[in-house]
Assembly symmetry: C2
């Protein structure tokens, strides 16, 4: 790959071009944006061979293995899927210019609260070329300029994808900017570009997200880590509990909404823990537990204190016995990453208390935590899952990529 001579100033130049483009991108009409999106989908399909070739170069030089390598890999079918995803975004409702409130003041002023694009959105992500295409579509649909800083292992794929998408007629110059992924300097320049960039969305490992949150002077939407819990209450339907626990733990263990911890009410521990440990172990899960759990099943390894806060992201689960729903809530609020936590119970009072008091983005009653997802929630897309409380919380997509402004219409009013 060609080395950029002056990368630092180059990032700055790209960000200034992005800022410059944001007025034009924000003024595109819904029909203009949808037409560009459909043309982007066609371009992706037309240029499939070129994309696959670049992806082959990435794969050849990549040191990634396992699921990370799989996420980097593109196939004809996956390219088709990316194009379809862009067409799906074209069909979603456009939130921009929507008037979400309107009222008249006693002095006659008409006040309207209207959705507007955020402006320039920066995204920092791993070596997943499909994210490049998904986020370009979501940003364009919401009238935002997108600055991409992808993982270095996907540099060639991203370069080709951004060239193809930027070349689509109607895309303003500067609407999609790809930063150099060969150095961390571009990340540092991006997160310090207050005044040029309106929001940074880090998607990736806990270390990257922490670095961005700790160091950014641009507002951040923290996405994130999920140390998700399932609490089995004394009145739970245990035949319902089994498939929920197995689904939440094993259906896709590497994602943030997979369950990592199981809390079991003491009154049913002797009955339920041996039974669920057997099913988990049969599904290939390594089970750890507190002293009581270990006393019930000999194959369970003792959990150490750091287990309770850890996001395993693999086939591992820790079990703890708790005294009641209050203990479960206290444990979760102490150790959870405030992502997704579930109670399984027939008792509505306990369920309501859990939903109310567990301080997480998504709280479940009698369902798997795996539903915390923009698609599963019915948003038609997903930009990420926010684990912070500011701006948006939980899965977010188009609406959350907008801000608002107040239009105030008068007839000469002055303040007394």
């Amino acid at each position: 790959m060609a080395v950029t001579v002056n990368n630092l100033s180059s990032t700055r130049e790209k960000l200034m071009r992005a800022k410059e483009a944001s007025a034009q991108v924000g003024q595109l009409s819904t029909e203009q944006k949808n037409s560009i999106l459909r043309a982007m989908a066609e371009a992706i399909e037309r240029e499939a061979a070129r994309i696959l070739k670049a992806n082959a170069v990435d794969l050849e030089t990549s040191r990634l293995a396992g699921p990370m390598r799989d996420r980097l890999l593109l196939t004809a079918e996956r390219i088709q899927g990316m194009a379809q995803g862009v067409r799906d975004v074209a069909k979603l409702a456009d939130p921009v210019r929507e008037c979400i409130a309107e009222w008249r003041r006693p002095n006659g002023l008409l006040i309207r609260k209207v959705r507007v694009p955020l402006g320039v959105v920066g995204i920092i992500y791993e070596s997943r070329p499909n994210v490049t295409v998904d986020t370009v579509a979501l940003a364009l649909k919401t009238g935002n300029v997108l600055v991409l800083r992808g993982g270095k292992e996907s540099a060639h794929s991203n370069q080709q994808l951004v060239e193809i998408l930027s070349a689509v007629p109607g895309v303003p110059e500067g609407a999609i900017e790809l930063l150099d992924s060969s150095t961390r300097d571009s990340v540092e320049d991006l997160i310090k570009a207050r005044g040029l960039v309106d929001v940074i969305i880090p998607r990736g490992g806990a270390e990257l997200i922490s670095f961005v949150v700790e160091n950014s002077s641009v507002p951040v939407i923290e996405t994130g880590a999920g140390n998700c819990h399932i609490y089995i209450d004394t009145s739970a339907d245990l035949d319902m509990a089994d498939p929920i626990v197995i689904n939440a733990k094993t259906q896709r263990p590497s994602v943030c909404n997979a369950a990592e911890k199981l809390l079991v009410h003491r009154d049913i521990a002797a009955e339920y823990i041996p039974r669920i440990v057997k099913k988990l172990e049969d599904a290939g899960v390594e089970v750890r537990g507190d002293q009581e759990t270990c006393g019930l099943v000999s194959s369970v390894k003792p959990a150490v204190p750091q287990d309770w806060g850890e996001e395993y992201m693999r086939l591992c689960m820790a079990i703890r016995v708790v005294g009641d729903v209050g203990d479960a809530i206290a444990h979760i609020n102490r150790h959870s990453t405030n992502h997704s936590d579930a109670i399984l119970t027939r008792d509505e009072v306990n369920a309501r208390r859990f939903l109310n008091e567990v301080d997480s983005a998504a709280v479940y009653w009698n369902a798997s935590t795996r539903f915390t997802d923009g698609g599963e929630f019915g948003f038609g897309a997903e930009m990420g899952v926010s684990t912070q409380k500011l701006h948006c919380r939980g899965p977010f997509a188009l609406t959350e990529l907008t801000s608002t402004k107040y239009e105030v219409i008068g007839s000469g009013q002055v303040r007394a």
Copy 2:
């Protein structure tokens, strides 16, 4: 004032107590909160003499002068006003636990989006004891714990106010924490307390706000500076324009929604500029201008480039001649702080274009910029005016002191 021996750990201890209290404060019912607020108002009135005595100590040792000293000053009437403000907040609607959306998915899952408290809110502000009381009322009403870091000149007043408010029956321990104002260490500890504090709201000078935004690892709502513009279009009703310009500039020049810049369409410059300069000067305003403006009125001093970006906050205004509404929009988007900007015109096309393309929190058509205020917007209160795009933009009050959570209610659903 007594020196705190170990201030660093003391701030940390206070923040941990705040975090600990947040679950309890968040679970207070609307009636409990309103009853506490009414008791707080009574306590303020009952303890007026004690508050005035502490305020006298602050005033005696203060080096503040002019409007800053006036903001520090409490009187019997002002204390009465603070108490009334708390009673007014008790009467406002409680946004907490409001369900703002509810839908059922094809798989039967019921999803509810519910407002919840932010948790722990930190506020950093100047030596204005009334802000202490206002923000305690807004935070309590929204189920939030409040951490206050006020200006050091108001330390005694704040200490007494926080003691009085915290002693009201029903206020959970830790619900109101006052940080040491004698050192900047408490600011630094507060803005680095990610995990303990959910949001920081800096209210004060541009330098303080910049410091917080640049250095905080806790999410920030930036409030702010207002370099506000009025653009007089060629078709403006000039008899309407005069009182609007004078009101926006002179009614309260030290506040963020006061106008600082006047842009005038070239076709009416020769007619309007001499006329408005005369009125501004009669009102005691120092007028600066670009070359064309200076050519029209000899008393106008030439503006230097930094004038266009400056928030004067005093009786000073700079005037510039522009070619058309597009030039006005471009000038504003380059120099504005994105707070409040107005167009005065009879031309609806130009007005709509201005409202649409000026990228500010509040955009006005034929009204004074001075209305950008929670009270004037009808919110019944105000926590600040956000000039960022994330979370909220423009004047904000109770609703914006909440986040949301998703409650997902199922009957055994697992993800396929």
